[in-house]
Amino acid sequence: MAFSSFAEFLAMGGHAPYVWSAWGVTALLILATVWHARVEQRQLLNGLKRRARREHARSTGGAQAPLNAARFTSVEGETRNDA
Amino acid sequence: MRASLMPLHDHKGGLMIAVKATLMRDLTLMLRRRGEMLNPLVFFALVITLFPIAISPDPELLAVIAPGLLWVAALLAALLSLDSLFRSDYDDGSLEQLLLAPQPLAALGLAKVAVHWLLTGLPLALMAPLLGIMLALPAGSYAVLALSLALGTASLSLIGAIGAALTVGLARGGVLLSLLVLPLYIPVLIFGAGAVQAAIMGDGVSAHLAILGALLAASLMLAPWAIAASLRISING
């Protein structure tokens, strides 16, 4: 232990503002990235779940075709038989 | 003779609606391209980085030339972002439509300039003190630096918009724009950099700032008309 008391630890030998601001900013950024990553993951999963429910409702309802159905329709006038 | 005739509109105002919509539109466009809003700031920072590298890392020398360097770099950053002020509207035909709107063109042009200042001039002014630290700018002049830049860049945006309007129809207008506009920027530069130097010397800065304010007032009165006229000329080409 390099310090004899907690107050001394906080004072950092007179260098408190420097040491604590450097450590503080680092901690803040690291925690913020972790928090952001978690929120991001949760939002994406929720969004996908919501979409799956919507698609499910639509397909059981059977009213509209899903948006991403194949749209290509026909090739006409195919005269040759390419073997 | 046909029975139903379409009623003709009289020009019935709605200027505020049009101006507000134009402000919102330009803000949305700029903010939507998140990265691009930051570009003038990054350019400012980069140019400021170039000087110590090219000149000398000596803090004492840097402190002497810092006010000038900061002002020149901010001016160039503001200048370069001007080129796109009307160009994309010109390219996609919406400038044509702006001119054909039954609204005073000067007011609509002013709205576009206001957005430009809000998203370049103001952030530049706010960021300058930070770069001042890096150039070892003497303490006590930071507030004046920010204030002079905020006032000055507003004039720069207004004056520069005239040049942007004149060159919008030209390919490679970018560099021609600098040529037209830089000479007009010199008075703003003199009093802006002068204000910061005065603050460092401990002289009064109010005279300098007052002149910057007067320049801004003058540009506010005259530039919108010049911008409108220039846009008309460019569309005509």
Binding site: T26, T33, H56 | R33, R34, G35, L38, N39, T49
Partner: protein, 250 residues
């Protein structure tokens, strides 16, 4: 070798394997950083010249190392993506860039703060510092370029090219600024392995560095998984995964 590359080509495989690896790195990161923090802040002795301000080293140096390593990883991912068309590599590069920029910022900030008690100024135009500032700009450039494209395919390839061009330039930049003007501390970790500082100071630093690297890997795995969900959300296997349906048997 080819089998492995082909496996990597499948985001689905990566999604499964990263789920297994992830917890390990999170635990390692938390343990190492916590240990390093306690040791570095409270137990390591004060420097005989700099006093306690020297404790900034425990965030400054790991962040500086990470900042540089991440750029190199990003360029390698870009190369892998361009050559073998492995999409996961590009997803990883995408999520690395912001973390790299953040670490560069941490190194700059902690260095600037450290400069006040030791050099008497926030900033000076020293080689290492200038190179770090330029690295920050390179990161911002990659992020901005990726954001500027509407087509994801183009954005990925453009960012890859820029990362590769940038990484070639990093040693050139480093060499040129060294030639130009230098004042910063010399290297702590040298090739010979002999430490330039006492063991009690050096070991916590090593622990911190390892902790930061674990954190980088853990976060990259986690965010790459999110990126897979974002980009492959329309794929069958993702939808099955989300709705919790069992996989189709073959």
């Amino acid at each position: 070798m080819w089998a492995f590359i082909n496996k990597l080509r499948s985001p689905k495989w990566f999604y499964a394997i990263s789920a297994k690896l992830q917890p390990f790195f999170w635990v390692a990161a938390a343990a190492l950083i916590l240990a390093g923090t306690v040791w570095g802040l409270a137990f390591a002795p004060a420097d005989y010249q700099q006093g306690n301000s020297f404790r900034i080293i425990y965030v400054h140096v790991p962040a500086a190392f990470l900042a540089q390593s991440i750029f190199v990883s990003m360029a390698i991912s870009g190369l892998v993506y361009m050559v073998w068309k492995i999409k996961v590599a590009d997803m990883a590069a995408t999520v690395m860039a912001p973390l790299g920029a953040a670490m560069t910022f941490v190194a700059l900030f902690s260095g600037a703060v450290w400069g006040v008690p030791t050099w008497g100024t926030w900033w000076m135009w020293d080689a290492r510092l200038t190179a770090m500032l330029i690295l920050l700009f390179l990161y911002l450039g990659v992020i901005a370029l990726r954001g500027a494209f509407t087509s994801r395919d183009s954005a990925s390839r453009a960012a890859s090219v820029l990362a590769m061009v940038g990484v070639i330039n990093i040693p050139i930049i480093k060499y040129s600024v060294d030639w130009w003007y230098t004042l910063h501390q010399p290297a702590t970790f040298t090739v010979t392995g002999r430490a330039a500082m006492p063991m009690e100071m050096w070991v916590p630093l090593l622990i911190m560095v390892l902790g930061f690297y674990s954190f980088f890997i853990a976060l990259t795995l986690m965010r790459t998984r999110s990126e897979i969900l974002r980009r492959e959300g329309t794929k069958r296997w993702v939808q099955d995964l989300v709705t919790g349906q069992p996989e189709e048997k073959r």
